[in-house]
């Protein structure tokens, strides 16, 4: 039996205003070569100007992933020739990466897994190059965009855990607002290193690297494909080659690009044009303070408040939704009720109407109001559903709607007692049936009381008074 051993390199473009070493705009653009400057194009004589915001954001991500962070900023040159690299070297962090020995805890099928992160470093992105028959096109908009590379240890054994890790990572990236992390815009790209080994082996097998994968779904397909490909080679007595492979999405196969990936010597050395800068404690503390409670932490908290694990997972998926939920909690709203309203009705409404949580009319205050109206018996839970829908569609507050629709529940015992007695008077035969021992007919009376009250009577109070009055008869 073979098992897969998988490590990931995740590249994430940071959402800064400007590029890593120039003042060019860092925005996604479909117009090629629009956001460029002499610095991005490496005209002779240019010098790099590090972007402080990118440094902050990269450090923030390193901290959110529980990494050890260095006390200095230092960049190294990674030297290689390729047209997508204008300077002929990429500025990256070889000697002093912003993060080392970090981890990200994921929960998969109720099982916790601590995924260790070997290294996290900040660098500049390369240009986009498209090859055609006989020519290639270069778009330097991407050249110089701040890029964080996260390198995991080879800690994964299957595609499902990998995807869970990637989803969690993306979620953290968005929580701390360091990247839009959109796969469609190429802001999150994954390299997969995968090898196979026997359960009894002590050494890792020879690995293949598949670079620049743009979607999580492809990651899944590639892992499954490679597991099968490598297993077949090994089972037939062959040897897996150490190579870089490329995914051909149309055919759902990987093909070899080049062998011996470690053979390239990048001749790293310290960038002389950027003086080493000390990272003082206050600067680091300030960044650390900006990190909000992260999804997994929130998920555990919601579960401890009685929310079921499926709903808890749903609530933390997006920060804005989780923040909404957090506000409800801080306003004293019941966790279980709020989770229920949000996961079923609110998210459903947002999905159908293609709206974000910021765009819906409902506020945490309104949700708390609604929950409390039900709790205090002011309206029935049946009515509450109607109110909830009206808030979203008519864009009015719950109290306005309750008032408008005359939904205020009757909970006054004297008023209800009058109705109860009227109902009992009008239904003597049913009363007989009850008295003969068939007490479950009480539901009929409650229904009649509600009907007589135009749906406003509080069912709980009605039921209690019915019991009292029946006994008297």
């Amino acid at each position: 039996m073979y098992k897969a051993v998988i490590g990931l390199e995740v590249h994430c473009e940071l959402n800064t205003e400007s590029k890593m070493f120039s003042g060019s705009k860092n925005t996604y653009s479909k117009v090629p070569n629009e956001n460029i400057s002499v610095i991005d194009l490496a005209f002779p004589g240019i010098l790099p100007l590090p972007n402080k915001e990118a440094i902050r954001k990269a450090l923030k991500l390193a901290m959110a992933l529980n990494c050890e962070v260095p006390d200095i900023v230092k960049f190294d040159r990674k030297n290689y020739y390729y047209p997508d690299l204008p300077k002929g070297y990429q500025l990256t962090q070889m000697t002093k990466p912003f993060g080392r020995n970090g981890h990200l805890t994921i929960n998969f099928n109720g099982e916790e897994k601590k995924c260790t992160i070997h290294q996290l470093h900040l660098e500049e992105d390369t240009a986009n190059m498209d090859h055609y028959d006989g020519y290639s096109l270069l778009d330097y908009n991407r050249a110089g965009i701040p890029l964080v590379e996260i390198v995991t240890d080879p800690v994964f054994n299957d595609e499902k855990t990998v995807i869970e890790f990637l989803e969690s990572l993306r979620s953290i990236i968005k929580y701390i607002d360091v990247s839009e992390a959109s796969s469609d815009k190429g802001q999150l790209r994954v390299d997969v290193n995968i090898s196979m080994m026997k359960e009894t082996d002590t050494e890792l097998g020879v690995r293949a690297e598949i670079k620049g994968i743009n979607s999580f779904n492809s990651v899944k397909e590639i892992i499954l494909y490679e597991m099968e490909r490598q297993r077949e080679i090994l089972e037939s007595g062959g040897q897996v080659k150490q190579e870089t492979r490329r995914w051909v999405d149309d055919e759902k196969v990987t093909v070899s690009m080049r062998e011996k990936v470690d053979a390239i010597d990048y001749k790293f050395y310290v960038e002389p044009n950027i003086p080493v800068v000390k990272l003082d404690k206050e600067f680091l503390d300030e960044i650390r303070k900006e990190i909000p409670a992260l999804p997994y932490e929130r998920e555990l908290k919601y579960i401890s408040l009685g929310v079921n694990s499926k709903d808890a997972r749903t609530l933390v998926r997006e920060k804005a939704i989780s923040d909404f939920f957090e506000s409800v909690l801080s306003l004293g709203g019941d966790a279980k009720d709020a989770a229920n309203w949000m996961t079923t009705r609110l998210l459903g409404f947002m999905n159908t109407n293609n709206k974000t949580i910021e765009e819906v009319y409902l506020t945490p205050e309104m949700l708390v109001e609604l929950i409390n109206m039900v709790k205090s018996g002011k309206i029935s839970s049946q009515q509450a559903k109607e109110v909830f829908a009206s808030v979203l569609e008519e864009e009015k507050s719950p109290s306005e709607i309750v008032k408008e629709k005359g939904m205020e529940q009757i909970s006054d015992p004297d008023l209800i007692r009058d109705i109860v007695n009227k109902v009992l008077d009008e239904n003597p035969s049913q009363l007989e049936t009850y008295k003969s021992g068939k007490t479950n007919i009480i539901g009929f009376f409650v229904g009649q009381v509600l009907k007589a009250s135009g749906g406003k009577a509080n069912p709980g109070v009605a039921s209690k008074i019915l019991n009292e009055e029946i006994v008297k008869r």
Partner: protein, 482 residues
């Protein structure tokens, strides 16, 4: 009209209205063109006087700029075929500041290809000859900038100095050459050779003119992270301070190491001048320095500069700018462009640099060179706690263009006397070369190197010593017009 005049003289004529900036431009342009055949200092000579006004001391004063400073709209070749048609779209900070000060660009000067080399023989437009004797080299790499000042065409010019590329040609051409502390003048827009050693430097025919230009060029530049913070002083204001009791030292091993008759003559002149300085109240002491370490100066310089140069010039691929050759793949285009665009000498340096940076060699070559560099700097910094400056002969006299004998590159004349100026680049020290006498009818220079950031003191001492020596405002041929 302009020939041989210094900044003070030209300033006075301009201010009095005897001449205007365009007169000076035309005069300099004519002289430049005329000198091309014999000296070949210029890659480009400007054909239009663009007087931008300005109210600085340099307003209206013509100058020449080494052709490795980016000038928007003006051809900038680095004296290399790979950039022979390159017209930049942005200005170097140095050019921008001079423009704002109202100084007038006369031409872009020849350098050793991409500033690598010390002879002035390797520029793509041909060799630069020494104005004193056109059978001799001008020295480099800032060859044309040194020659144009030595010819008297312009009162000052701009060069760059990575090992001695300003201070060496200054010595060989009989003028003053200064590179301030690393970071004092922004390198933005200077084509990089070896970034950790590269400095902007200035040529003139007297120390005061050097100081005027330094005052205009110095200062923090947000485009160069290694630039130093502004100081609220003008160096010209402290130029005339008394230097009695100033303590200088020279290195015994360098002065004692010479073997040729000419170099012995150089040392003799040096010692005579030291005696003159002493009689003026300056303290000059002999200090012994580890000879093994001194013999490493050139190898250290060569290793670090080749390594950095390989990487710094990796942008010259023909893809985005510069001449592009044809090819069937991006790789081939790049390969053909670089094969055709660089001379053999450059390729050798790149290959050497690449070898030095290779994983298996980096520790032994590159990192050891950096360690040895630090050892030398630490030793110098210790000495600078005690002394205000290091004074040494700048080197021997200019050799013949086609020497009968190859220089003995492992002999101590070469390793010590001719290559010690790199100390100034290792430590980023302010360092100035100025004339001290003549050997075989050729000028020789003396060099003063001072502690980091002590630019004002360096210029002050040099200004005073210059007058003790009594050679200034000298153009090629020895005419003392000033």
């Amino acid at each position: 009209m302009i020939m041989g005049k210094n900044i003070d003289e030209l300033r006075q004529e301009l201010d009095e209205g005897v001449v205007n900036a365009c007169d000076l431009f035309n005069s300099a342009m004519e002289a430049s063109s005329k000198s091309q055949e014999s000296v070949n200092a210029f890659v480009s000579i400007m054909d239009k006087c663009e007087c931008s006004g300005g109210s600085s001391v340099l307003s209206g004063i013509p100058y020449a700029l080494k052709d490795n400073f980016s000038t928007s709209g003006i051809l900038t070749t680095g004296s290399s075929n790979i950039l022979k048609d390159y017209v930049p779209v942005f200005d170097s900070t140095v050019y921008k500041k001079l423009k704002e000060a109202g100084a007038i660009l006369i031409g872009k000067t020849v350098l050793d290809e991409l500033a690598m080399g010390g002879s002035g023989l390797t520029g793509h437009t041909g060799i630069v000859r020494n104005p004193w004797d056109t059978t001799r080299i001008s020295g480099g790499s800032s060859a044309g900038s040194a020659a144009s000042v030595s010819l008297g065409i312009v009162p000052f010019s701009i060069g760059s100095d990575t090992g001695d590329s300003v201070r060496k040609p200054a010595s060989l051409c009989g003028i003053v050459g200064f590179k301030p502390t690393y970071g004092r003048i922004s390198r933005f827009g200077l084509f990089p050779f070896a970034s950790s050693l590269d400095h902007v430097g200035i040529f003139a025919r007297n120390v005061k003119d050097i100081t005027y230009v330094t005052d205009v060029l110095k200062g923090y530049d947000e485009l160069d992270m290694t630039s130093l913070p502004d100081e609220d002083i003008k160096y010209v204001d402290t130029l005339d301070k008394d230097i009695k009791e100033k303590k200088l030292f020279y290195i015994k091993e360098i002065v004692e190491s010479v073997s040729t008759e000419e170099n012995k003559e150089v040392i003799k002149i040096f010692k005579e001048n030291i005696d003159k300085f002493r009689s003026e109240g300056v303290i000059v002491e002999e200090v012994s320095f580890d000879k093994k370490l001194l013999e490493c100066l050139y190898p250290i310089y060569f290793i670090i500069s080749c390594a950095e140069a390989t990487s710094n010039n990796s942008n010259l691929t023909g893809f985005i700018f510069g001449s592009r050759e044809q090819g069937n793949s991006p790789r081939e285009v790049m390969f053909n462009t670089r094969t055709k665009g660089f001379s053999e000498m450059i390729k050798r340096r790149f290959i050497t640099g690449s070898y030095i940076l290779q994983r298996e060699n980096q520790e032994r070559l590159f990192l050891n060179a950096k360690r040895a560099r630090r050892m030398i700097v630490e030793k110098m910094n210790l000495l600078f706690k005690e002394y205000d400056g290091l004074i040494l002969p700048a080197g021997g006299i200019a050799p013949k263009i086609n020497p009968d004998e190859e220089t003995d590159r492992l002999g101590s004349d070469y390793l010590l006397l001719d290559n010690h100026l790199a100390i100034g680049n290792f430590g980023g020290y302010p360092s100035i070369t100025f004339p001290m006498g003549y050997v075989s009818n050729m000028p020789v220079g003396i060099n003063l190197t001072c502690p980091q950031r002590e630019d004002a003191s360096c210029l002050n001492i040099a200004f005073k010593l210059e007058s003790v020596i009594g050679i200034k405002d000298v153009c090629a041929g020895g005419e003392n017009i000033g």
